[in-house]
Subunit: 367 residues, 2 copies
Amino acid sequence: MSVFTPPSRLLFGPGPSQVPERVYQAMAQPIVGHLDPFLFEQFEHIRAGLRELFGTRNQFVHALSGTGSAGMEAALSNFVAAGEKLAVFSAGYFSERIIEMGKRHGANVVVLNKAWGETFTEAEASEFLIREKPHAAAFVHAETSTGALQDPKAITGPARSVGALTIADCVTSLGAIPVNLDENGIDIAYSCTQKGLSCPPGMAPITASPSAIERLRTRTAPCPIWYLDLGLLLEYYEGSHRYHHTAPVSTIWALREGLAAIVEEGVSTRFARHQRAHEYFVRRIEKEGLKLLVPPGRRIPNLNTVCVPEGVDDPKTRKRLLNERGIEIAGGFGPLAGKIFRIGVMGPLATEKNVDLLVDALLECMK
Amino acid sequence: MSVFTPPSRLLFGPGPSQVPERVYQAMAQPIVGHLDPFLFEQFEHIRAGLRELFGTRNQFVHALSGTGSAGMEAALSNFVAAGEKLAVFSAGYFSERIIEMGKRHGANVVVLNKAWGETFTEAEASEFLIREKPHAAAFVHAETSTGALQDPKAITGPARSVGALTIADCVTSLGAIPVNLDENGIDIAYSCTQKGLSCPPGMAPITASPSAIERLRTRTAPCPIWYLDLGLLLEYYEGSHRYHHTAPVSTIWALREGLAAIVEEGVSTRFARHQRAHEYFVRRIEKEGLKLLVPPGRRIPNLNTVCVPEGVDDPKTRKRLLNERGIEIAGGFGPLAGKIFRIGVMGPLATEKNVDLLVDALLECMK
């Protein structure tokens, strides 16, 4: 058997994104048991790092043993019981996934729909939420399928006024741009490790406000999903460290190290670097006569959606980038299939030099 | 920030178990995207390795993006719909977990209980299943909480005669001892990566027979858990490779490499090595006047449960082993709390030399 050598890729897609070498090296370190005191010490480092990136003082901040989608399912199944009303702001693929999961868990799902790529104003949110008076309101902060960034306050303000918990999908935002959870009045947020945190996929950071946790403690029926039951998980992560499942230790080492790298760089420095790289990317793209799908002011800085120009073959371009340059970018799907390239500029790749490399290669492969 | 250096442990507990260096090195290799053709090639290597270890020709063999408990929850939520009758053979902690999950998913759960550490005879299974005529019958092949090994045929034979699907928990058996899925007539089986496969925790191998998959395709209500919906996952793993979630690429590299190491050693050679190490462990333990909880003939070869001798302090012994020798073993829980040591002899540690190291250290730390 020959040595296992995966191809070397430059991950300019929406995620997984590029991983720093020190994170890989952390994963090559030996594991310990899932009840080892050393592991619980690492959980505390992780919680501290996630708190800083989420912008929260919540006690409840953990990383679940699944990908970002497991985080979404944990948020919905724990905080919205069967029969409760869930209001969803939907303008892209991931809000549609929230709707699908909510329905499967027996929630009474009501939806405010807009076209993919749109975002919601406070007036729209207010009218919808006052009419529906839901138990919880869910929205996607940074919609990976479209590149549109939702202003959280446009939704959390109206939600608070009707007493609804707010659930924010921060899968694409956490670690790359500010989330400002407490300032934005978000109750529950979840994310992944393979985008803004520059780690491999496999864990789902999640946090909940004290009032959300209070509602969790008073629910009568247990969470329908044992694996993602936050009540049981809390007993493992905190306090008694009672066995629940066997935590994915190597993936935890990666997250621990990825967060350490972010804290060393400085969170605000990192956010500013992503913003600068985004602005440089936009300048270069527009200089080449290409257009972005989302108008300025509501673009996700670390995930750019570039319209596929007339006459350019979308799958062929992406295939050439991968095969000839080792560069991954993504296409659109749903109503945006064939219409956009989705280009992540995140983590180690969020520099002017790497943006140049990407844009030059893209132009070449579009020919 | 100093370099991240976890303590070096010898993992003689029930899992996570010791990981070979080449598996760690595989995790330090760069990731690719979750839709990268190279990743799908690795899935095929993994499927081939798992098929050999499960002892099956099933088309459906995959590794889910969660730990063994997620495998359990996937098996129950996909193959037992709300309202259907699930018969559980219960004589330990993990069968109790099956009961708990089944109830949460709305199954009509009926249970045949025996004391922790017991196993079931064909006559007992037959009487129970003929009386209950369930949709599915679930049992634990190797019960990690007690060290008892269940003969699958004692349950699958009677189950077949009443038309019930059989679900086998192979979390502790897969990779270390034969499962012989097809020969034993098991329909659905799941496992983990951190025990018999000698990989870090994080994935859940799962397989299902063609008739089980047929039942899956004809169920009317969708799986209540989107993240573990095998119908959707099949579209990602096979055929169209339609996006579902972002697979944990580094953990997949580990599993790919761990299976490659097992195939290189030879599956039957590996099983024989585990059996020999177990027999040597038993000889040494009994020579020292210690007793095993489970009688010969139904012991799990790779997971030994040793009775804590009169006058020996269980937590103190385990704490000393960890702190003074860097050796992890586990204690008992539930009705066996304080009564047993749970000692895994698996993977790289399943040799006479390592058994000597462990037994000598145990004797020393029990003093």
